[in-house]
């Protein structure tokens, strides 16, 4: 998280040296939220492979931590200086990054948002991302079908306040379960009576565990847990196991990392909605190469797909098994 500046400096130097030598290769910049999250590691992998296949040069950089806007601004500036004609970015701060993106676009650079949108969404030329609301709906429907008509007491382990992805997954889940919820555009978290505890996990295992422990203190009868991602789900499972409640409680999640799929196979998580960072990046690089060759810009939102992965299928809900999930997962297999 803190070594990014060095990387940027190196990337800039390499870019500057490489520019005259490989002037014919289109340069594509990839800016992720962090260098270290396996999701972004996989994204970079996808971009690197696609760039190699298409004969493009890939520069990559990242913020120091999730939410580090200044780091991403610096990265954009350096990428433009290095001659990038296309910049792919996963915005850490959907609003704060907009002026820098505008500067880049004014210079004729194609900017594509990956994974999450900017605000407004048309601040970038195009968006390649998971439909997070749909990801939520899938696990909501799965939980509803598996639990039948059983009354539920739900705990939601969310991301952090105000984050659109967190709100979309949360509200999508409740929508899929058939409870009162908000639509995909609303960043407020719905709280129908069935939700007995809401806590922020920051997508982190240790904090997810703490959040679940506190929720169980609040209401020991919780029997359905929605988590923002699988590290939070693993933390929730730890808390449930310590309380001796891992059997009667269903945990559902979103992400589809390899560790998460393993946890689905092991029965810690009942189902997860898998997203595809590799595909997002590969599509972004392909669009960048296309732009360099023909000047054609992509536009609007492209859904990069989401698949429900469950160890036990539920009646009436389309899901894939964990073997398929492992084939397509990201992170350490």
């Amino acid at each position: 998280m803190l070594h990014t500046r060095t990387h940027l400096a190196i990337a800039t130097v390499i870019g500057a040296i490489a520019l005259p030598t490989f002037a014919s290769e289109p340069i594509i910049g990839l800016i992720t939220k962090t260098e270290t999250n396996p999701f972004f590691v996989k994204m970079k992998e996808g971009a690197t492979a696609e760039a190699k296949a298409k004969g493009a040069k890939l520069l990559s950089a990242a913020g120091k931590t999730d939410g580090d806007n200044a780091g991403q601004v610096t990265a954009i500036e350096n990428m433009i200086a290095a001659g990038a004609k296309t910049i792919l970015i996963t915005p850490s701060d959907s609003k704060a990054i907009v002026p820098s993106i505008k500067k880049a676009r004014d210079k004729g650079v194609l900017v594509i948002a990956l994974d999450s949108p900017t605000e407004p969404i048309d601040a970038t030329d195009a968006l390649f991302a998971t439909d997070n609301y749909k990801a939520g709906i899938l696990i909501g429907e799965y939980a509803k079908a598996s639990l039948g008509g059983k009354p539920v007491k739900i705990a939601t382990l969310d991301l952090f306040p105000g984050h659109p992805v967190g709100a979309q997954r949360h509200n999508g889940f409740l929508q899929g379960f058939g409870l009162k919820s908000f639509d995909a555009k609303n960043n407020e978290l719905a709280k129908p009576a069935e939700v007995v505890c809401m806590a922020d996990s920051f997508g982190d295992q240790a904090k997810g565990q703490t959040a679940m422990e506190n929720c169980l203190q609040k209401n020991p009868d919780i029997n359905l847990v929605y988590t923002i991602n699988e590290p939070a789900a693993a933390g929730a499972f730890n808390a449930l196991k310590k309380a001796g409640k891992e059997k009667g409680v269903m945990v559902v999640s979103v992400d589809g990392g390899c560790q998460g799929i393993k946890d689905v196979a092991a029965g810690k998580i009942a189902a997860t909605s898998q997203q595809y960072p590799l595909k997002m990046a590969a599509m972004g690089v392909a669009a960048g190469v296309e732009y360099a060759k023909t000047g054609k810009k992509p536009s609007g939102y492209t859904d990069t797909g989401v698949t429900l992965i469950a160890a036990k299928p539920a009646a009436g809900v389309d899901s894939k098994d964990t073997k398929t999930g492992m084939d397509l997962c990201w992170g350490n297999k």
């Binding site: 982190d204 730890n238 310590k242």
Partner: protein
């Protein structure tokens, strides 16, 4: 030289206890689940990692230094002990000691740079924080290490006292606080730490090897971070290369909230546990109340400023 005055309760030492007590009273009115043994055992488990890092951090702050690398070194220790155990299949005890060796080694490097090259601890540990983070990421390839042997996560398991489940890790943390408190209070070495923090030059002139005291403090702090690594691994059941990022500043927050002076030489180590508990109680209590975590951050910020202001004012008025 230190005197009996340090043991008198002042605003600086009583304040944290009062703040914790007030928070507890407030939350027990807000939520009926709050005031139970089970809930307090839980909060202790939730703060044990920060609590142990804070012991090391207290030692360093008592010498008027600061350690920004604490969380990152803790994360490195956790990755080393889990990876050594997982990849080479050695006995968990051996792997754990490998982790301790690495964190204590980082303490030694910090200490040597502070004492031999006379760099400010802030700068030294700013550097080693980055180095420890980078090594953690490179060594683990940014991947979480799972499937750990039971011996490695033993401290996360619990035993019963009556109705209440207590984690072994909590007991270890409380014991470490007891040891640190007695050591700082009753031994010559402990008193030397206060002396170095109060006035290093005067301490040196009385014939105490201040460099050696400082070096010992940094190595012991590193060792504390190693034990914190073990607690973190035990609590989450994995070796997490992204651990330590919030614990880094949380530990400093705990020490400051606990009334230890950032100017060195004043404070009691138990206060740091109280500081960590204050943060833990707010997080737990606000969740029970159904209030957003942002309020916890807001309240922590206000308390930190209050704590430092109290220290500054009592320093001006007191001595």
């Amino acid at each position: 030289m230190p005197s009996w005055k340090e043991h008198l309760p002042s605003i600086g030492t009583l304040g944290p206890f009062l703040a914790l007590l007030m928070a507890c009273v407030f939350f027990s009115f807000q939520s009926e689940q709050f005031l139970t043994g089970a809930n307090f055992s839980l909060i202790l488990q939730q703060v044990m990692v920060v609590g142990l890092i804070a012991i090391g951090q207290t030692l360093i702050i008592l010498t008027a230094g600061i350690d920004l690398s604490c969380g990152m070194v803790m994360a490195l220790g956790g990755v080393v002990m889990t990876k050594v155990s997982h990849d080479y299949g050695v006995h968990p005890i051996v792997a754990i000691f490998a982790g301790f060796a690495v964190t204590a080694g980082f303490g030694l490097i910090n200490g040597l740079l502070v004492t031999r090259i006379k760099l400010p601890s802030f700068i030294v540990t700013l550097g080693t924080m980055n180095i420890a983070f980078a090594i953690t990421q490179l060594y683990s390839q940014s991947q979480t290490i799972t499937d750990l042997p039971a011996g490695m996560t033993f401290l996360g398991t619990t035993f019963s006292i009556g109705q209440t489940e207590v984690a072994f890790g909590t007991v270890l943390m409380l014991a470490m606080y007891g040891i640190a408190w007695l050591w700082l209070r009753e031994t010559a070495q402990g008193r030397h730490i206060y002396a170095v923090g109060n006035n290093p030059e005067a301490t040196r002139l009385t014939g105490i090897a201040t460099h050696r005291v400082l070096l010992m403090v940094y190595v012991l702090a590193g060792l504390c971070y190693g034990i914190a690594s073990l607690l973190s691994v035990a609590r989450t059941g994995v070796g997490d290369p992204n651990a330590g990022q919030t614990e880094n500043l949380d530990a400093i927050t705990a020490v400051v909230l606990g009334g230890t002076s950032l100017f060195g030489g004043r404070g009691i180590v138990i206060g740091s546990l109280v500081g960590a508990m204050i943060v833990g109680v707010f997080r737990n209590g606000l969740t029970l109340m159904g209030v957003s975590s942002v309020y916890q951050i807001l309240i922590t910020g206000i308390l930190v400023i209050l704590a430092v202001a109290t220290d500054q004012l009592s320093r001006k008025g007191g001595r």
